[in-house]
């Protein structure tokens, strides 16, 4: 069974036509991989479907805009993977 990171890396590679081997856990989706907000909607849709969750993109954006969080917390892929795992776990409770 593939890890959360592998699943989202595969989604990003396929959705944004980015070479899979250039997508690392330390990659920042925006700053390193150059994914813009519209392309990220495609990724969010694929992640929502794959994990049966709803990524709270609006809440994350608001937190970043309010200075309560950094983009690293949500868009560095190892952190995004951790957030997804939390959402999946919360779904099961």
């Amino acid at each position: 069974m593939s890890s959360t990171f592998d699943t989202i890396a595969n989604i990003i590679a396929e959705t944004c036509d980015i070479p899979r081997d250039s997508i690392k856990p330390e990659s920042h989706a925006i700053n390193d991989l150059g994914i813009d907000s519209l392309d990220f909607l495609d990724i969010a849709f694929a992640i929502d479907k794959a994990f049966g969750i709803k990524l709270p993109l609006e809440q994350w954006t608001q937190e970043v805009n309010d200075g309560k969080a950094t983009t690293d917390q949500y868009f560095v892929l190892k952190n995004l993977s951790a957030r997804i795992d939390e959402l999946v776990a919360a779904k099961g409770t």
Binding site: L38, L41, D42, A44, F45, D48, K49, K54, L55, P56, L57, E58, Q59, T61
Partner: protein, 157 residues
Amino acid sequence: MRLEYFQLIDRIIDLKLADRKISAETTVPNTSTIFEGHFPGFPLMPGVLLIEAMAQTSGWLVVAANRFERMPFLAAVKDAKLRMFVTPGHKLSVEADLVHEGSGYAITQARILFDGKPICDATLTLRVLDFPNAEMKLRMREAASRVGFPGEVLPNG
């Protein structure tokens, strides 16, 4: 359909939030300045306006899903297929399914039928945002009444 006013939908026929589906009808006008250019001597409903008709129909479904509190804006059109010519006088059925409601966006699968035959379809992404201002919300409520948006979905009737 009033092309010059970008009113692509005449009437909502059915809107079932539980099923996440909408259907609407619209008739291509017999005359329009658009047909003077598209095309001289061979009037055709522009494909981009058929896509707009699907976007507006999808939009009403997303408006309903958000209880008229938020406004959808077309963000992406995927796999659009224009399968046959649409000419003045055609009465069209426009349908959309809400495939996914994400955080700040929605995905619909939309199609247009003529005489039961599919004439175009696409997957649409809409950004779902707060209404930019009170006037737009008011105007959209007026447009909703014009197309027969179901009253039970409107806040305060």
